[in-house]
Symmetry: C2
Subunit: 141 residues, 2 copies
DNA sequence: AGGCAATGGTAGCCTAGGCAACAAGCAGGC
DNA sequence: GCCTGCTTGTTGCCTAGGCTACCATTGCCT
């Protein structure tokens, strides 16, 4: 429902929530590879790749080959994307605020905290959990 | 992540979480129409219709015409669907329990309650909110 | 140097959902 | 009776994601 609400609100900008997540991430870390992007978004490489396809087709970002490793594409936002990115961020905050209108400050804190814990739990049972480099994924080591 | 985790667990049964939601609902209320189904699942009529397509194609349910209103299809589970439905329910409960393993009983209660409130808030701003029959959709009556 | 495993990216097939346009059917007003 | 408007369902086009198989490249190890 959050996704749907967000998409409804930013439709006029010609983007979706998922696309905004990419833009936002690329704004903070320009030059990441597609694999890195996929991992950060917690999504399959294929899905990330197609996302990049769509965004590139609409000129929101550019693929540029890495000079050291010919396999990887480094991703960079275009100027327009950089411009719209902030606006989307504002909308995201607004939506979050509206959605939690019925909750007090401590409740929001608690909700956020609990969801983080649930997320960690779910991450621990995801197939991608095995390759965690340093974090202990299991629950009973 | 919940959806993904659930789908991973029930894959061997040849179904998905969304499909299970339909089966579960139809088990409790056989003979609902597609529109009713869509509303109960909080999904567009088109999406519900395609869902029914897939489930019918795989013989999990049957469309039967209503005798009074030739527009509507009434939906009924097949025997196999009825059988597998309970199993899926058990898996759902298990998953929920696993996901909230890091939370105490009161926390779970609180989380559930808060999410309900957030959901209500989001429902109030959805486009389908206007046609609510009795409930007041606004936030400050 | 050569081979082999790991990594990055892509394409194919699938489910899932949104929005819009449409046809068929129903119901109420005149 | 007839027309007008609403409801039900379907179809088309779109994004989004999962899984698998595959190709190219890289890097390690012998």
């Amino acid at each position: 429902m959050m996704r749907a609400a967000f998409d409804r609100r930013v439709r006029r900008l010609g983007l979706t929530r998922s696309q905004w997540l990419v833009l936002s991430l690329l704004h903070r870390r320009p030059g990441v590879s597609q694999s890195e992007l996929a991992e950060m978004l917690e999504v399959e490489r294929a899905a990330a790749g197609r996302m990049v396809d769509r965004l590139e087709r609409r000129n929101w970002l550019v693929r540029r080959p890495d000079r050291l490793d010919r396999r990887v594409n480094r991703l960079y936002l275009t100027a327009e994307a950089d411009a719209v990115q902030a606006e989307m961020g504002r909308i995201a905050v607004e939506l979050l605020d509206d959605a939690m209108a019925g909750l007090g400050a401590e409740e929001r804190e608690a909700l956020s905290d609990m969801l983080e814990r649930v997320k960690a739990q779910l991450q621990g049972m995801s197939p991608r959990a095995a390759s965690s480099p340093d974090a202990r994924p299991g629950l009973s080591p």
